[in-house]
């Protein structure tokens, strides 16, 4: 029984960590994209 619980815990943990790491990367990228777009717009507004 303990092994069953351990196995299911590990399973969910790995799936969770994988999804979480994707979510974090996604959030970081989205933030970076926003910042980059803002800079690009700024540059376009003031001309090169």
């Amino acid at each position: 029984m303990t092994y069953l619980i351990a196995a299911y815990t590990v399973m969910w943990l790995i799936t969770f960590i994988f999804v979480l790491s994707m979510a974090i990367r996604q959030r970081r990228l989205a933030a970076e994209l926003e910042a980059l777009k803002a800079r690009l717009q700024e540059r376009q507004r003031y001309g090169q």
Binding site: M1, Y3, L4, A6, A7, Y8, V10, M11, I14, T15, F18, V19, M22, R25, Q26, L29, A30, E32, L33, L36, K37, R39, L40, R43
Partner: protein
């Protein structure tokens, strides 16, 4: 830029995958009958087999995407190959750990160097190296090409792993033989639901992971255009 993983159909798919995984959990823990000889530990089996199959399938998708990349040179195939390796590796690790946790009470050891476990260990190493290889090549085109070649060459380990329990005498159980299944009907239903659920989860994760890579490409492009 492609937008996979965020459309209406994709969101529906993510929801469906979540629901399927919860259903499979119920099937494995409650619906499936208690196995007479092994007891409740046997319930690990449904997820072990499901992650194993979907993991193998993920590496197969990598093979297909790698060949497609070499043929067409399109970045999206490279992204699919990479994403599929990451997901497949996560599933394969789950398979290995759950297998080990099942082996401890049943075989009385965490690990033994028998054919199936040995070939699985080799397969894990190969796909971990695949990810490492991508990190040591700077040029994107070359990285994609080398990774594709390694994705093709490395795939040979997958059928060997799959066939290991059929070719050699081993203590690892073989559930699917040419004569039929070694399971009671209710167990078979639980297994099919688990495999289906994990397949859906794979598709959903693949959509999200590829989406992430497209985003990172977009960011890289913007960065470059800013630097000019």
């Amino acid at each position: 830029m492609e937008r996979w993983g965020v459309g209406k159909i994709a969101i529906f798919l993510h929801g469906l995958a979540g629901a399927a995984v919860l259903t499979a959990l119920y099937m494995a823990l409650v619906f499936a009958p208690r196995e007479a000889a092994m007891g409740d530990v046997q319930r690990i089996f449904y997820w072990h087999v499901a992650t194993a199959w979907v993991g193998f399938f993920a590496f197969f998708i990598t093979l297909i995407a790698s060949i497609a990349y070499l043929r067409t040179g399109r970045r999206r195939w490279d992204i699919v190959a990479l994403s599929s390796v990451e997901i497949g590796l996560a599933f394969a690790v789950i398979m290995t750990v759950t297998g080990s946790l099942w082996a401890k009470p049943v075989w009385n050891t965490w690990w033994t160097w028998e054919p199936r476990l040995t070939t699985v260990a080799i397969m894990l190493l190969i796909y971990a190296t695949y990810l490492l290889l991508r990190r040591v090549i700077e040029d994107p085109g070359r990285r994609a090409r080398f990774a594709a070649v390694y994705g093709i060459a490395g795939f040979v380990s997958v059928p060997i792993t799959f066939m290991a329990i059929r070719w050699w005498r081993t203590i690892h159980p073989v559930i699917f033989k040419s004569e039929g299944f070694d399971l009671s009907p209710a167990m078979l239903v639980a297994l099919i639901v688990s495999v289906a659920a994990y397949s859906l989860l794979y598709v959903s994760l693949l959509l999200l992971r590829t989406q992430l890579e497209f985003l990172s490409d977009e960011a890289a492009e913007l960065r470059e255009s800013l630097d000019e």
